[in-house]
Subunit: 485 residues, 2 copies
């Protein structure tokens, strides 16, 4: 005993001695009412100073693991270890809800494509962390902590951190949104916002409209909430309105989930005319819109386009969900829901029941970072960098990939459509052997289609790897096409 | 126009000019294709440097709000503002789910007791922020950012931040838990953990057992998940096992929610013997336990008591949910679920679908703070301070309040039981007029009972206010008792 104590360098040694002794008690190596070695003895045995042992013994007693007898020393307390019996087992499989089983089944992080070390991966559309300006983030954190650190570390409000809420309201107003009768809720990124909104929506028809293809996480969450999904085909300038109107005329829908800017996965930006027409149409059929703001900040060309919620003017039928996680830092889990004030009141209560409130550190750091003027600077750098990668990827695709159609006006990815009958899952198998992976398009389809499509995310791929990777994909695609004859 | 520009001191002026101009375009004061003032003109009008205006105009063009004509200057872009019509309205009331309506109805932050400025409030059991050691938190943040800032700001893992997970596993092992076959999930505090676990539980009987009274937020979430609640009365040493066994023998239950240490609201710590007997009993009836670790760190006296999950030994029937938010910083939204590894796999997928992952800043800052040895130091200070307040409050209650029963072995609150028939809601009305509020006990009861009880939270009340406030409550209680004769 006492010969296997290996302290790590950067943690107080007395705590490590305390934990070491606790362990011996829990393992039963030290029995209740057994006397501990004197502080001097243990110090020698563990090769630490006597004062360290004294501090450790004091801490053990404070934690109730030992007691002292005047002049006799320290002893192991009786209740410090509890009889480990009885033990009994539950068969959890039979105890799970459908939601749990389905969430696991639809969990792409568990069943999706794995990327080994060294593979060139086009599967991610997360930002490139090399762009992160850590100095400004630290600065923002320290500024805010200095101003109101005690407030930041205690409970906040479910609705959000006030300065950030106010900033985002102005921010949305500058996108052309009429704020009258609207309110905002801060959430743990887009995903929580979407989940809460879906929870708040009563199921009347149980049906939801969306673009086909669309954001696969959205498809997952719509399914987990038990909605039937009707996908409307995409065109070059956004969702096909004729198809949309036909669907609206045929059936009733509880809402529509739409991604008008840099649509995931096609990267298409809906035209202004289409946005207005779309909003008019949904209004006519009284179907609310959940608008996914996604990374509409990542515009490289053309002029500003207002979101659908702006096109809806003073109407309250559009629920806008925004997030900076693709644009700024995904590690800061901050998103927001801008919608009808009455509705937001209910969303707030659901949020409170789910997570009390969003991390105040995240909210306040993000707020101060932006307030200090870093968002504009960062966006300028990020846009320039992503635009370069975007154009490089575009060029490589045009040069190497035998596609039928290629879309993507910006953002962090391109969408490749091959001739019908082509199978990107088989293409992926081939490419994986060559150390290149991408996202097969079928996961974005609501109707099992899209086997002949794929998404290429370039945000985190180095230039030379983009060139190399796309060439490999092109070569393998040609081989496959020839085999199909 | 241009005469109402009022820049704030600590935000880059060019951004404020940009926003100001955007606003004029959105309000229609500046029309599409209208020429903007020259940079010199605007600089004079707004009383800012010309370079500031040049930067602002550049930013406006980047955002797509303006365009430049060679030698002619800047013009408002056509699409920068979108026709605010058509506008249409949704009657959200009829569109809401029962969950949304119920969440709002059960939301005590909206329908609970409001505390005006100057009131002495015993309603909170949040920590006293005066205890927060901001310096160590800043230090922890900077240490971690220096080590892996880029990693912290990009996407993390749904399961949690690895170093924190590893630490917590050891931490739980030191509470006597057998980790074999178990795994951990980091959540946004206790509440998200509880919500996810309830979502994962399939409804077989749709019934849940818990102590009566119990944590009101738990009651709310159980109801929101559609469970029928069977409350088992409390005794001085924890839940009444005879009553529990009777209930188990009569009906089937999907699980039991229990708070064995510093039970909320009674502050009772379940005895070791009872813990063992309880676990045996639940095992016999195969009913899983959701154990609320709550603030079991806030022990002021007596020796360490292992949690139920330790008493279950190698069994997998106990789901432990822990959190430091009452002990350390509620603003850091970090809790954890320790349970059967297979079950945690499913919880992880639900977590991913709900919030992707918990704030990495919160997790890494908390980890580094603890790793640096601050938890022990902080707990020593916090325990000493809360113990003092605890004993003061206890003394005042004994001296002033005509209670029938008084419980609370530690933690941040005491529970007062008056004679049957006494109405603490009426007492609250009287006290409120005297500027003193507390939490009426009925909100903690599963069966509408507890009208004659109240919870007194002292963690955030100054000593002199504790003395004054408790005296007021006592006086008013006496008056009420006399009136009742």
């Amino acid at each position: 005993m006492f010969n296997d104590f290996l302290p790590m360098p950067d943690r107080p040694v007395y705590i490590q001695v305390k934990d070491y002794m606790k362990r011996l008690m829990i393992k039963g190596a030290l029995q209740p009412h057994q006397k501990l070695p004197s502080t001097r003895e243990l110090g020698e045995l563990l090769q630490v100073s006597r004062n360290t042992v004294i501090a450790a013994y004091a801490a053990l007693e404070e934690d109730g693991f030992t007691y002292t007898q005047q002049g006799k020393g320290s002893f192991v307390a009786a209740t410090s270890v509890m009889s480990a019996e009885p033990s009994w087992r539950i068969g959890w499989q039979e105890r799970l809800s459908d939601q749990a089983l389905q969430a696991e089944e639809l969990d792409l992080m568990k069943h999706g494509i794995r990327s080994q070390k060294g593979t060139i991966s086009f599967t991610s559309i997360a930002p490139d962390e090399k762009l992160f300006d850590l100095g400004n983030v630290k600065r923002a954190f320290l500024d805010r902590m200095a101003m109101e650190g005690h407030v930041l570390l205690n409970y906040g409000y479910a609705k959000g951190y006030k300065p950030l809420m106010d900033y985002l309201l102005h921010y949305m107003e500058h996108k052309g949104v009429d704020l009258t009768g609207k309110d905002i809720l801060i959430t743990n990124g887009f995903t929580e916002g979407f989940d809460i909104v879906l929870s708040a929506l009563g199921k009347r028809s149980g049906r939801v409209l969306c673009e086909n293809p669309t954001h696969n996480t959205a498809i997952k969450n719509l399914r987990l909430h038990g909605f039937d999904i009707t996908g409307i085909p995409m065109e070059q300038d956004g969702v096909n309105l004729q198809e949309l109107e036909r669907a609206l005329a045929e059936q009733r829908f509880d809402c529509a989930y739409l991604v008008p800017s840099y649509h995931n996965p096609t990267g298409i930006v809906m035209s202004v005319q289409k946005r207005l027409e779309l909003v008019r149409l949904m209004g006519e059929y009284r179907v609310p819109i959940i608008e996914d703001g996604f990374n509409e900040e990542l515009r490289y060309t053309a002029s500003h386009v207002s979101p659908l919620i702006a096109a809806a003017g003073s109407g309250n039928g559009v629920i806008y969900i925004g997030s900076f996680s693709k644009v700024l830092f995904p590690g800061l889990r901050v998103g927001w829901v801008l919608a009808d004030a009455e509705l937001v009141g209910y969303l707030e209560s659901i949020k409170r029941a789910r997570t009390i409130h969003t991390s105040t550190l995240d909210q306040s750091t993000l707020y101060q970072y932006i307030h200090n003027g870093n968002l504009e600077k960062y966006l300028r750098r990020a846009r320039a960098e992503y635009k370069r990668k975007y154009e490089l990827t575009l060029r490589c695709c045009r040069e190497h990939i035998p596609y039928a159609e290629l879309t993507g006006h910006g953002g962090l990815h391109l969408f490749v459509v091959f001739a019908q009958g082509f199978d990107t899952r088989r293409l992926l198998e081939r490419c994986q052997l060559q150390g290149v992976i991408f996202t097969p398009g079928d996961i974005f389809y609501t109707d099992g289609g899209g086997r002949h499509t794929m998404r290429i995310g370039f945000s985190r791929v180095a230039d030379e790897e983009i060139e190399l990777g796309i060439r490999v994909i092109g070569e393998q695609a040609r081989v496959l096409l020839q085999e199909q004859g």
